[in-house]
C-alpha cells in the first residue's frame, strides 16, 4: 500500500524521541513565543513526557511562577556547590592517597633493601670470619721468635751452635771483630760482605715484617758464626781437642758438626774471595727461601731451594738440598725427603751429619 510521499516520512515522527523542555523553552512555550515547528516538537514531547506536562500544568498556575524561578536558581546553585566541590575534593583525596601509597611502597622497599643488605653483609662477614682467621693466625704466629728459633735450631743446627759458641770462640783473637758485627748486625755493617748483604736485604726488608727481620738476624748470625767457626777451625785446629769438651756440655748435636766444619774450610775461603757478589746473591736467595719456609709457604720455598740448587754452587747447594729435604718431610713426602737427605750425605759436606741424623730419625 502506497501512501503519498510526505506523509510517508512523517510516520516515523510519531515514534521519534524528543528531549525534555529546556529551562528557557518552558516559559517561552507558556507565553506562546515559539515557532510553529518548535511548538509542534514540544507538544509531541508533552504527549509522552509526564514530567514535562506536570511541570507545565504546575507553572500555568500563576502563584507558582515566582517561586519557580527562585527555587530553580537555588537548586542549581545547590547542585553545583554540593557536587562539584565534592568531586574536586575527591580528586584531591585520590591524588593524595596515591602519593601516600607511593611513599609507603618506597619506604617498604628501602626497609626491605636495607634488611636484605644487612643480612647479606652479616652472612658474608661470617663466611669471611670462618675462612680468614686461620690464615691470619698462621701469618701472625709463624714469624714469632720462638717458632722461628725452633725452626732454625732444627733446620740449621749451626745457628744454635753459633749462638752458644761466642763464649767459647772469644779466646780466638781474629774472631773478636766478627763477634762485634754479629752482636749488632742491623746497625753497623763491618764486613764488605755484610754491607753488600745489607743493601740487598734492605730492599726486601722494607716489605717484610719485623718477624722477617728477626729471622734475617738469625740467619745472619748463623752465617757469621759459620764463617767465624771455619776461621777459628783453620787457626785452632790444634786446639780442636780443647774446644770439643767445652761445647759438649752445651750442645750434643753441635759436636759432630765441628768435625764437618773442619773438613769444610777448603771450599769456603775461595768462594768468599772470588765472587763475593755471587755468594751474596746465593745467600740472599737462600734466606728468602728460608723466610718462605718459616712462613709456612712450603711450595714457594721448595721452588726457591730448587733454583738455588740449580744456579748456585758450593755449600749453599748443600744447605738448599738439606732444607729441601726438610720441606718435603714437613709436607709429608717422605720418599723425596729421604732421597734429598741421601744426596746431602753423598755430597759429604758440612751438613752430612745432620742429614744422617735426620735420615735415621725418619
Amino acid at each position: 500500500m502506497l501512501v503519498n510521499k510526505p506523509n510517508n516520512e512523517k510516520v516515523l515522527k510519531i515514534f521519534s524521541a524528543i528531549r525534555c523542555l529546556s529551562r528557557d523553552q518552558l516559559p517561552r512555550y507558556m507565553e506562546g513565543r515559539l515557532t510553529d515547528v518548535e511548538r509542534h516538537l514540544v507538544e509531541q514531547h508533552l504527549t509522552d513526557c509526564d514530567l514535562c506536562y506536570d511541570a507545565l500544568t504546575a507553572l500555568e498556575q500563576e502563584e507558582n511562577t515566582e517561586r519557580y524561578q527562585d527555587l530553580t536558581n537555588k537548586l542549581q546553585r545547590y547542585v553545583q556547590n554540593s557536587i562539584q566541590p565534592v568531586s574536586h575534593v575527591q580528586k584531591v583525596a585520590q591524588y593524595t592517597r596515591k602519593e601516600k601509597n607511593k611513599e609507603h611502597m618506597l619506604a617498604y622497599f628501602w626497609i626491605i633493601a636495607f634488611i636484605g643488605l644487612g643480612v647479606g653483609s652479616v652472612y658474608v662477614l661470617r663466611g669471611h670470619m670462618r675462612n680468614q682467621p686461620p690464615v691470619r693466625i698462621m701469618a701472625s704466629s709463624l714469624p714469632q721468635k720462638d717458632s722461628v728459633r725452633e725452626e732454625v735450631a732444627t733446620g740449621v743446627p749451626l745457628v744454635t751452635a753459633a749462638e752458644n759458641n761466642p763464649g767459647t770462640t772469644t779466646p780466638a783473637p781474629a774472631t773478636t771483630p766478627a763477634i762485634q758485627t754479629s752482636a749488632k748486625p742491623a746497625t753497623a755493617p763491618v764486613h764488605p760482605d755484610s754491607a753488600a748483604l745489607k743493601k740487598a736485604a734492605a730492599l726486601k726488608a722494607a716489605q717484610k715484617k719485623a718477624a722477617a727481620d728477626s729471622i734475617k738476624k738469625h740467619t745472619l748470625l748463623q752465617k757469621q758464626a759459620d764463617s767465624l767457626k771455619k776461621e777459628a777451625a783453620d787457626k785452632v785446629t790444634a786446639k780442636a781437642e780443647e774446644k770439643k769438651p767445652e761445647q759438649r756440655p752445651e750442645q750434643k748435636p753441635a759436636a759432630p758438626k765441628e768435625k764437618q766444619k773442619e773438613q769444610a774450610p777448603p771450599p769456603d775461603p775461595p768462594k768468599r774471595e772470588t765472587p763475593s757478589t755471587a755468594v751474596n746473591s746465593d745467600e740472599y736467595l737462600y734466606k728468602a727461601a728460608m723466610v718462605y719456609q718459616q712462613q709456612g709457604n712450603l711450595n714457594e720455598a721448595i721452588n726457591r731451594y730448587k733454583r738455588i740448587e740449580s744456579v748456585s754452587s758450593g755449600k749453599y747447594v748443600e744447605m738448599a738440598r738439606y732444607q729441601l729435604a726438610i720441606c718435603y718431610r714437613s709436607k709429608g713426602q717422605a720418599g723425596k725427603a729421604r732421597r734429598m737427605f741421601k744426596e746431602v750425605i753423598r755430597m759429604d759436606g758440612s751438613m752430612k751429619a745432620a742429614a744422617q741424623q735426620a735420615l735415621d730419625g725418619m
Binding site: M1, V3, N7, N8, E9, K10, V11, L12, K13, I14, F15, S16, A17, C20, L21, R23, L26, D36, R39, H40, E43, Q44, L46, T47, D48, C49, D50, L51, C52, Y53, D54, A55, L56, T57, A58, L59, Q61, E63, N64, R67, Y68, L71, T72, K74, L75, Q76, Y78, V79, Q80, S82, I83, Q84, V86, S87, Q90
Partner: protein, 191 residues
C-alpha cells in the same frame, strides 16, 4: 569539562556517573532536569506547608543519587518523576523504578526509529510497517494521530476542533500512541 558534558546525552551522562563515578556528569544530569523537578514539586510544597524546600530538595537529590547507582534508567525524565512521586507520596518507602511493558515497547520502537535514520532500507521497511499498524488503528485514534503528527496541528487547533480540554486531548493522544505501539510490536503475530 562542564561545557563538554552539557552536550552529552542523558544516557551517556548516566553511564559516566555510574561507571566512572563521575560526579560532574551526575551534576550536569541533575542540572538539566532541575527546573522541571522544581516545577513539579512546587504544587506539593504549596499544598503541604510542613514541607521545607531546604529539606525536600536535598533529600530528593540524595535519593536520585542513590538510585542512579543501582537502577536501570531508560529515560531520565520518567526516572526523576518516579523518584519525586515516591518521595512525596511515601517518603519512608523507597520503591524502585521499573518501566512498564508499554513504556519498554515505546522505548524499543523509538530506538529502532533512531537506528533506521541512517539506513534507508530499514527506514523503508519501518515506514511500511508503521503504515500498516496505523491502518489497523480505530478510526478515531487514526484520525487524531494523523491530525496531530502528520498534519502538524497544535494542541490549540485540536482543542478548538474537537472541543475537548487539553488534558483530555493529551491522554487520548497518548493512548492512541500506545495502541499503535502495541499494534506495531504485535504485527508479526497478527499477520
Amino acid at each position: 569539562m562542564q561545557q563538554q558534558l552539557t552536550n552529552l546525552s542523558d544516557k551517556e551522562l548516566i553511564s559516566r556517573a555510574r561507571k566512572q563515578l563521575d560526579r560532574e556528569a551526575e551534576s550536569v544530569l541533575i542540572d538539566r532536569y532541575s527546573h522541571l523537578l522544581v516545577a513539579v514539586t512546587i504544587p506539593h510544597l504549596s499544598s503541604q506547608p510542613n514541607l521545607d524546600p531546604n529539606i525536600v530538595f536535598p533529600a530528593l537529590l540524595q535519593r536520585l543519587n542513590a538510585s542512579l547507582k543501582t537502577q536501570t534508567i531508560y529515560k531520565a525524565n520518567e526516572w526523576i518523576l518516579h523518584i519525586q512521586k515516591g518521595y512525596l507520596g511515601k517518603p519512608e518507602k523507597n520503591t524502585p523504578f521499573y518501566p512498564s511493558r508499554d513504556g519498554r515497547d515505546l522505548l524499543h520502537i523509538e530506538n529502532t526509529v533512531d537506528k533506521a535514520a541512517t539506513n534507508i532500507i530499514d527506514r523503508q521497511d519501518l515506514i511500511v510497517r508503521l503504515e500498516q499498524a496505523l491502518q489497523r488503528l480505530s478510526a478515531d485514534d487514526n484520525a487524531l494521530i494523523t491530525q496531530f503528527y502528520l498534519e502538524n496541528k497544535s494542541f490549540a487547533d485540536l482543542t478548538a476542533a474537537t472541543g475537548l480540554p487539553r488534558e483530555k486531548l493529551r491522554s487520548q493522544l497518548k493512548a492512541a500512541k500506545a495502541k499503535l505501539a502495541k499494534l506495531f510490536m504485535n504485527q508479526g503475530y497478527a499477520s
